[in-house]
């Protein structure tokens, strides 16, 4: 019996070999990672903070080179790092986000207080739908679950800032203010998380006393 050829698609492009991966971490990032590794018994445990470093270094999102770099730096497989990164919604894997990520809570309390109406306003103002980015690369809008600030519903999160309760007017003002900000808040958020991780140990020591 001959082998029946099912498809010519057989065989996929191969993943990059370690020597083909460009390591783009800045010196500062490398130093931070080294310090972080001291916090944990093994490199695997440092995956999450290391992904934050990568998200900062690669401009607010994780392109495939970033995944590969994290994998190499932590001696894990690419697939494992990709799996972890795609599990968490705060890592943006594969495609860039805008400089500012607007996360609109649409869970119960916010929903009742008009979150969708608010979202519609933002969407039509910016001309984008959920998950999309404005052509100038400024804003991305995303729908998120309860932000744990129901008393201030409806709530927005942009970087590490909560805004609520907000209405169309306050949102317009927020957007205007953000437009004048040049540094991307997504990168700033990543950096803040990395710094917090770096100091976590010391904080723990303090609170332990």
């Amino acid at each position: 019996m001959d082998v029946i050829q099912i498809s010519d698609l057989r065989g996929r492009p191969r993943a990059p070999r370690p020597e083909e991966v460009n390591l783009n971490f800045s010196e500062k990032a490398v130093r931070e990672l080294e310090q972080l590794l001291n916090h944990y018994p093994d490199k695997k445990s440092a995956i999450l903070p290391c992904l934050w470093i990568a998200q900062r270094e690669y401009g607010g999102y994780l392109p495939s080179e970033a995944i590969a770099e994290v994998a190499l730096r932590l001696d894990r497989s690419y697939a494992e790092i990709e799996g972890v990164a795609t599990f968490y919604t705060m890592y943006h894997v594969g495609h860039p986000t805008g400089k500012h990520l607007i996360e609109v809570c649409t869970c119960l309390s916010c929903h009742l207080c008009g979150a969708y109406r608010l979202a519609d306003h933002i969407k039509s103002k910016l001309g984008i739908d959920w998950g999309e980015t404005t052509p100038d690369g400024m804003f991305t809008i995303e729908e998120v679950e309860c932000l744990d600030a129901c008393d201030r519903a409806p709530v927005l999160q942009i970087s590490d800032q909560y805004y609520g309760p907000v209405d169309d007017k306050t949102v317009d003002a927020i957007l205007e203010k953000l437009k004048s900000e040049t540094s991307p808040s997504t990168v700033r958020l990543a950096d803040e998380i990395v710094q917090a991780q770096l100091h976590k140990r010391d904080q723990e020591k303090v609170s332990g006393n």
């Binding site: 019996m1 082998v3 099912i6 498809s7 191969r14 993943a15 590969a68 697939a79």
Partner: protein
Amino acid sequence: MAAAANEPQSVILTINDIEIEVPRGELIVESVKRIGLEIPIFCYHSRMKPVGMCRMCLVDVGFKQPDGSVRMMPKPQAGCTLPADNNMVVYTDTEKVRRDRKGVLEFLLINHPLDCPICDRGGECPLQNNTIFYGPSTTRYVEIKRHLPKAFPLSKYVTLDLERCIQCGRCVRFTEEISGDSQLAFRFRGAMMQPSTFELTDFESRFSGNVIEICPVGALTSAEYRFRARPWDLQTKPSICLECSNGCNTWFDYRVASLVRINGRTNEAVNEEWTCDKGKFGQNYLNSPDRLTEVFVRDGDKLIESNWATAFQQVSVAFQSAGSKCAALVGGKASNEDIFMLKRLFTEAFGSNNLDHRWTRCLPKSDALYRVATSIADFENEPVIFVFGNNIAEEQPILFLRIRKAWFRNDAKVIVACPEACEADTFAHTSLRYRPGTEAVLLGAIHRAATGAGGVDIAEASSITGVGEEAIRRAADAMKSGFALAASRSLLDLRNGEHVVGALSNLTIACNSSEKYNLFATSANEEGARQIEFMPSAEGKNTREILEACASGEMKALWLLECDPLSLSHDNELVTKALETVEFLVVQNHIKSECVQFASVLLPACAFSEKDGTYTNLERRVQRIKPIIAAKGSAKPAWKSFGELLLRMKGDPPPFHAHEVMQLIAASHQKFQSAIYENLEGEGVVIPANQSTEPQAVDVEYTAMEVPSNTP
């Protein structure tokens, strides 16, 4: 024992009102098997850590109270993650459990497509089976199912159908825990969670075929087997893989007398249940148009189809007139029976002792250097393992899995010395990446570091081999109080192979580990040929001498059984010259090879699936194969043709069945006495090693050797 006295090693629990005693910590899913019950499962696999991902194995659990009553837990428990304990009361078949199982299956089926009629797994699918036995007969879910890519080619062997996946994680855990390449991981989460490689790139693994077998649904299927048969159309028989020297046990699935697929067969002593991709997907040659199925004899510059009688006639004339100037060489796929009968033919009928099965560059005389002392399964419990030489995952994939298991399960220290990056590096205690050609120097340095004497200076060795001094010391430190060696005979292909192997032997002696010295065979029945002593005695010629004598015209006739010298030998110039020059060349093989063009007589042999016989794997385990499909054309088992030739030339009654040949082997080689066919059912039989005297240290030149670089 004393320390464990207050912590009894076994516990007593009740399962379905039957009281049983099981080892402490045994999982309930295993304990129930002791009373002949089974709990339905998907994600649990006895060779991997339990994760409790699918909830199929729910059981009702309670505890006996001091007052004699039983207090049941309010919720059912996952039997695959629950360790047995004293006073535990387990019910596997209550109304509640049945209802819960139905619920779990209904959920699992929410997103599972109903394409069983065109699914490869249909008919042997655990999801199908569990649904029939435990599932609901209809679904309440009427919404749209999740849609994902179907029939995605993950590699040239594995096709992934994401819609069918029930997210059990078996495939992901296999690559993490067993094969160690971590090629698969779950991407995304919740209902969208999908097992995949990094960005769906090629699934590059030596063991990828196993995930097809362990996937409990048809999500991972074999690209080769897809749509070629339904399981109930297949016939299946046990077989052995001959692609390397491990001797993995396989199921040979065939249909209309041709191979359709190979699956792993459980043999705890050899391959557990795994196969490598070479063995699982590399057997298509059986159906190849290049199979040799008829007898051919030379007529001028053509080979014309003929019959056995004519061929025998020509062969006996040619070999008899050659007198002792004839020789035989065998390759790795000849069975014990073939090899033994060929040896008999040559020694008894032709009066020649020019026999050999070794193809390496160096052919050390000392039998002790070829020792194999540790069995595959024993490696699991070795605390220190020294893997030396070529990439072990490539040469002995299944042994590699055991060594990895020794590290994964038992924290073995594995020292890996290999000239190139290899899979074993990923779990190595110390990796010694030496420059090719500097094997002996590296071993000399480890010797010095471990014993403080002998060998070579460490600093000097470090600069020659390119391995750091510290790494050498670290390795020596781990090894000095004993280690098990895993090295292969391909080391003898090095120009200073004899010294390298000698250095290994000296090192094991110096570290009191000479009873753990192993130099493994590389081809399927190489060890068998060695045990049957298919080698020249004192006055005979070895492979190299035979080829040289053929090339010079001194050797008149040559018999090649199941081998292609052009691919086996490192000196193709010599081989070509020898094959051209020798007057009479018999090529006997199951497949056409390059050397066919030089043949005077071409004899078809049966492939492993077509004959009865035994093979001896690298740990001297003799395993039986039985004929599964009919011989092709006029092919016959090689041993049979030798018997017939012996009958013609000497009037010896020929053996009619392979087991008679084994009796003959046992009569002339004591150690095969335990390997008669009645004993070979099940795991096969390990025959004893040669009674060699205490291994002696040998003189070794600890020097490096220039290696011509292959890079153009």
